[in-house]
């Protein structure tokens, strides 16, 4: 029977098929941990007297709570420090490999896994973090789970799950200059809505997706959750194999040959059918930004803040009204006229080396606008080191931006990097929810290129605007 990519990976991991209403039991190849969603799971194991079944398929890093300056000092926030210390104690007790603050491999969990070569095609990858969908860029079935499920994976290395439906998101054609993976995914979310992907695994395909680099593919898959989908996937190809080859945990020698042979089978069969299909013409896409308080409330940069009355759906109209009140925006204002206070470049969405290079190319020889602060936060210490080898940090510093240590930083209001009430940001992160970047903070989601151009002009801008 012909099958989709997601169905192939699913079937290869079924430990036992459920009968009737009972879910399948799915084996998990890689379990990523961080300090926020794991302490209660470790506690659960201890209380029940259970063991961690496969420490050798588990890895932890510190990311959500960590400060991005003064990392050689103890974390000032005592509650954050306790949470990080708890992870360290738990990892020591249960024998889990941990990359703590200051370690050369430390970073955001979804940046660290791929760069170590631990994320490979056809695997099942889970983490107590919804952006686990990032790893789907390799053709892995990767999804976020809650703490009860984290404990379940710790104890059994499996999860009881019902099969997901599959949706094809086909992006054909060529992306125009200045149009990036971030713009693609923001446009996808605006098209299908924040609930459009619920119950689905999204498979991104088409010539525009095939042309993307691995890092750009990760940006696309990362935000699948913002469309409500559990996971996003892209079929592995030569781009994928080239990225993995030679990484610390990649197979080598005869294993590499065998692995690639298997990975090449991980494609949706030509005559397989998806439960739903969406088509997007890459040539029509332009830089995309959000104006509201959910990632589906986005528009091309050339548009204006919408009038809530223009929404025919009652819920969308009310949501738009509430969003504009929170965001402090007037209908009809050109998006390019919106002034920002802060620009954040980083996160598991856009904190990789290519993102930093793209932004640095825009900033080189220019300066951040007066009154605007720009934070550049590499997704991992490896990304930071690579950027410094390339001299990118000097470009950022010369432009007046801050060059930080690795972590989740301003993506979520959990560490010292936060917006103040009313402060407005252009952010390369993934969520513009109310208060996401700090209580009362106002977030516009943008690509690294738009972030850099916005930093220079002080208003939402694309690099092309700098040439005028």
């Amino acid at each position: 029977m012909s099958r989709t990519l997601a169905e192939k990976v699913w079937e290869a991991h079924v430990v036992r098929h459920g009968s009737g209403a009972e879910p399948d039991l799915l084996y998990i190849d890689l379990h990523l941990l961080h300090e926020v969603t794991s302490p209660q799971a470790f506690d659960g194991l201890r209380l029940a007297g259970r063991k961690l079944r496969r420490a050798d398929l588990t890895i932890a890093t510190e990311d959500h709570n960590v400060p991005t300056v003064d990392i050689d000092k103890p974390i000032a926030d005592l509650v954050s420090r306790t949470q990080v210390d708890t992870l360290r104690r738990n990892c020591a007790e249960f024998g889990v490999r941990l990359h703590p603050m200051g370690d050369v491999e430390q970073g955001i969990v979804h940046v660290v896994g791929p760069q170590l070569g631990l994320t490979q095609p056809g695997m099942t990858v889970v983490c107590g973090d919804s952006h686990t969908s990032t790893h789907g860029a390799f053709g892995a079935l990767a999804f976020g789970i809650g703490t009860s499920e984290v404990e379940h994976v710790m104890a059994t290395q499996t999860l009881p799950l019902r099969p997901f439906k599959t949706m094809a998101i086909t992006v054909d054609g060529e992306l125009g200059p200045g149009v990036t993976a971030k713009d693609v995914i923001l446009a996808v979310i605006a098209k299908i809505g924040t609930g459009g992907g619920q119950g689905y695994v999204l498979e991104y395909r088409g010539s525009a997706i095939e042309a993307l680099s691995m890092e750009a593919r990760m940006t696309v898959c990362n935000m699948s959750i913002e469309a409500g989908a559990r996971a996003g996937m892209i079929a592995p190809d030569q781009t994928t194999f080239d990225y993995i080859e030679g990484r610390p945990h990649a197979p080598s020698g005869a294993d590499w040959v065998a692995a690639v042979e298997y990975w090449k089978t991980l494609r949706t069969d030509d005559d397989a059918t998806f439960s739903a299909e969406v088509h997007i013409d890459a040539a029509e896409l332009t830089p995309f930004v959000t104006w509201g308080t959910n990632p589906g409330q986005g528009l091309p940069l050339g548009a204006s803040v919408p009038d809530p009355e223009s929404f025919t759906d009652e819920h969308e109209r009310v949501a738009a009204e509430k969003a504009l009140t929170y965001m402090g925006l007037e209908p009809g204002t050109p998006l390019r006229d919106i002034h920002v206070d802060t620009v954040f470049l980083g996160s598991c969405t856009n904190g990789r080396i290519e993102d930093l290079r793209a932004a640095a190319d825009v900033l080189r020889g220019k300066h951040v606008a007066q009154g605007v602060r720009m934070l550049v936060v590499p997704g991992s210490m490896r990304v930071r080191a690579q950027a410094e080898r390339e001299g990118l940090h000097e470009v950022f510093l010369d432009a007046g931006a801050e060059w930080r240590q690795a972590g989740c930083s301003m993506c979520l209001g959990m560490n010292p990097d936060q917006l103040a009430p009313g402060e407005r940001s252009a952010s390369t992160s993934n969520r513009n929810f109310e208060g996401r970047q700090g209580k009362g903070g106002r977030t516009h989601l943008v690509s690294p290129l738009v972030a850099a151009a916005t930093a220079v002009r002080g208003t939402l801008s694309a690099p092309a605007d700098l040439e005028n």
């Binding site: 430990v15 306790t82 059994t156 969520r431």
Partner: protein, 200 residues
């Protein structure tokens, strides 16, 4: 997990769609390492507004939340479920739930009852017209009742069975330990492990 068959409590109308888990509990409240005490973080930003529904009598004592579509979107934080339960909620009613939130609810014994939007609207009107109206959620026959209103709700059969029996998922899975072991014996040898690499 405690078994759930039926629950009756004050219904709380929350006329908002896309209530994401950052609204249910902001990240700043996620720093605790315990599993209890998250009620102070529930809807923290909105509770600063004296007109917010949970600041009004008799909704303060509510235990059945009736929300707009796409409830629980965003972050996978199970703390959202803990915060709702720590506050006193046993049921959330919505016409559409985010997948991870629904899964987390089922693990903790919070009933995520999917009711069509038409009935959600009727419930909102009823609860606003007569604040303090009690809502009964019966998991055995999958109905929501309030005054004369009777609405069916959807919940997947497996979760329903587990909730009715109060069963622990991990214990259920561990019954299949042999099958897990057999599966592990057949895994491809090239698959990566996280064992630290030896320096070459």
């Amino acid at each position: 997990m405690d078994a759930f068959t039926t629950h009756t409590g004050v219904g709380v109308p929350l006329r908002r769609s896309n209530v994401d888990t950052d609204q249910i509990i902001p990240a700043v409240y996620l720093k605790r390492v315990t599993r209890t005490g998250f009620e102070d973080g529930l809807f923290a930003a909105w509770r600063g507004d004296e007109h917010f529904v949970l600041n009004l009598e008799p909704f303060k004592a509510g235990s059945v939340l009736v929300a707009g579509p796409d409830f629980g979107t965003g972050s996978s934080r199970e703390h959202a479920v803990w915060a709702l339960m720590d506050y006193g909620f046993r049921v959330v009613i919505s016409s559409r739930f985010a997948d991870i939130f629904r899964g987390n609810s089922g693990k903790q014994g919070l009933v995520a009852a999917q009711v069509d939007q038409q009935h959600v609207e009727l419930l909102w009107k009823l609860l606003e017209a007569e604040p303090g109206t009690e809502v009964t959620v019966d998991l055995t026959d999958k109905t929501v009742r309030a005054k004369d209103l009777v609405a069916p709700f959807e919940i997947d059969d497996y979760t329903r069975w587990r909730l009715l029996e109060g069963l622990d998922d991990i214990a259920l899975t561990l019954r299949h330990g042999d099958e897990i072991g057999r599966f592990e014996g057949n895994r491809q040898t090239w698959l990566p492990t996280t064992d630290p690499l030896q320096a070459v």
